[in-house]
């Protein structure tokens, strides 16, 4: 039987297909029924060394809805980290106050280092440009909920595929489910080569294209990410790219797409996705954002061993 009690949630390289499905099934249970006493007497330490609204608030909400408490690092700049304390020392101290730790940090691998340092479960809420596994669980949950399956789908990823940790995590997770992938990006923001090799080694069929129209009619799901201005040295270049990857209802009307296409976005969106899309049957990104709470309830309950599936 699958159990994740005592496990850290750091990277999709750590999970089997069965473990992924276990979390997704438990998320469904969490969404269907409240569990107000599950975490009574437990404390989650929330260490966000980088700004976050959605991830941080949905973790806090999940813990509180399950009857637990949350302690937070209010402003990392004002804490002992600013006095030069090592990340390991900070995490070691905080682990003495809590049952589990959730951490976001600008450096790649910071969550793994934290997990290696303490015995209580550590959950990665984003480490640099590496992984963002809890976002990926809610992305998978949204795909499963809106498409009815994860198996055999064709998924397009569009936007910043080079620095987007949500894309990296999701592509690795979907490699378990016989998925075909299209990577749609400007040349300067292509998927990292080592990741493409890794996907190929796992038997994933993929194609890289520069424009959505080269793939649109094949897609069951389109996963959009934000293209950030700071990735471009030349503002003119950024302007061109921004225009080419802007999605709106009018853009979709001009393309061949499947009727059942679903569009996901980890949010926040800025200019890459127009509000005209919001009322179309394709848009599921707000539903996706709302899944953050039940999915994080499922993750917290399973690593703390307070709820087994069923």
């Amino acid at each position: 039987m699958v159990s994740l009690k005592g496990r850290d949630i750091i990277s999709f390289r750590d999970f089997s297909k069965e473990e992924i499905l276990y979390i997704l099934n438990l998320s469904k249970e969490m969404e269907e029924k409240t569990h107000p006493d599950l975490m009574r007497g437990r404390v989650l330490a929330s260490l966000f060394f980088e700004p976050s609204t959605r991830t941080r608030m949905s973790f806090e909400s999940a813990m509180k809805l399950l009857g637990g408490e949350v302690i937070s690092l209010v402003e990392p700049g004002a804490t002992s980290m600013a006095k030069g304390e090592s990340l390991r020392d900070t995490v070691k101290i905080v682990a003495g106050y809590a049952s589990a730790v959730v951490i976001r940090h600008p450096l790649d691998g910071a969550a793994r280092l934290a997990a290696d340092t303490v015995d209580i479960p550590v959950i990665n809420a984003g480490d640099g440009s590496n992984q963002h596994p809890t976002q990926t669980f809610l992305d998978l949950y949204t795909v499963l909920k809106t498409k009815g399956t994860l198996d055999g789908l064709t998924i397009g990823f569009i936007g910043d595929l080079k620095y987007g940790r949500t894309v990296l995590s999701l592509a690795l997770a979907l490699a378990h489910f016989n998925t075909s992938m299209y990577f749609i990006s400007p040349p300067s923001l292509r998927m990292p080569l080592d990741l493409l090799k890794e996907l190929a080694d796992k038997g994933v069929k993929y194609r890289e294209v520069a424009y959505l129209e080269e793939a649109s009619d094949k897609l069951d799901v389109l996963y959009c990410t934000r293209i950030q201005k700071e990735r471009f040295a030349d503002p003119v270049e950024f302007g061109k790219v921004k225009g080419a990857y802007h999605l709106s209802k009018a853009v979709l009307d001009g393309l061949k797409i499947k009727d059942a296409l679903k569009i996901l976005h980890p949010l926040p969106r800025v200019e890459e996705m127009d509000e005209s899309l919001d009322d179309t049957p394709y848009a599921v990104y707000f539903e996706q954002a709302h899944s953050g709470v039940p999915v994080r309830e499922a993750i917290l309950s399973s690593v703390l061993g307070v709820k087994e599936q069923g």
Binding site: R13, S86, H105, P106, D108, G109, R112, L113, N130, Q131
Partner: protein
């Protein structure tokens, strides 16, 4: 009649590192810190080799390689062989081979990796031995070839 002669003189007891790709001979010599050796050290390069074209060879009297040195040599010169010499005879011959985990001997090439910012030992998982492909335990990026840099 032709007399076969050793291209490099023999040592009595110690280690011979053979089949080093010629241009990497001095990198291997650096790994072995030969400048601080007090016993006989013989270094040769551009010797003819059937497999490598040109090879280097290092012979060190009285030397036993540490595991760390063997790991480093396996990264720089994956074709190298080790001969353990006792009383002028090679009593053991083996290829250098990487361990599955490398601790504190390779630097991560990712400037944003936590291993380059926190006071910790670097840690790599060896995904492939020949040619070496390493995955950083922390940032999970993979390194091959020129990206692999010793500490």
């Amino acid at each position: 009649m032709t007399v076969k002669q050793l291209q490099v003189s023999a040592i009595k007891n110690g280690t011979v590192i053979d089949h080093i790709e010629s241009k990497n001979t001095f990198k291997v010599a650096d790994i072995l810190n030969i400048e601080n050796e007090t016993q006989v050290v013989l270094v040769a390069m551009n010797l003819s080799s059937r497999n490598l074209g040109k090879k280097g060879i290092i012979k060190i009297e009285g030397k036993n390689l540490t595991q760390e040195e063997a790991n480093k040599i396996a990264l720089i010169a994956p074709d190298a062989t080790l001969n353990i010499i006792k009383n002028y005879e090679a009593v053991e011959k083996k290829r250098v081979s990487l361990e599955d985990e490398l601790m504190g001997i390779v630097k991560c090439f990712n400037p944003n990796c936590v291993g380059n910012h926190e006071p910790i030992q670097t840690h790599f998982h060896v995904e492939r031995k020949d040619p070496p492909r390493l995955r950083c335990h922390y940032c999970e990026r993979t390194m091959e070839g020129k990206d692999i840099e010793l500490m």
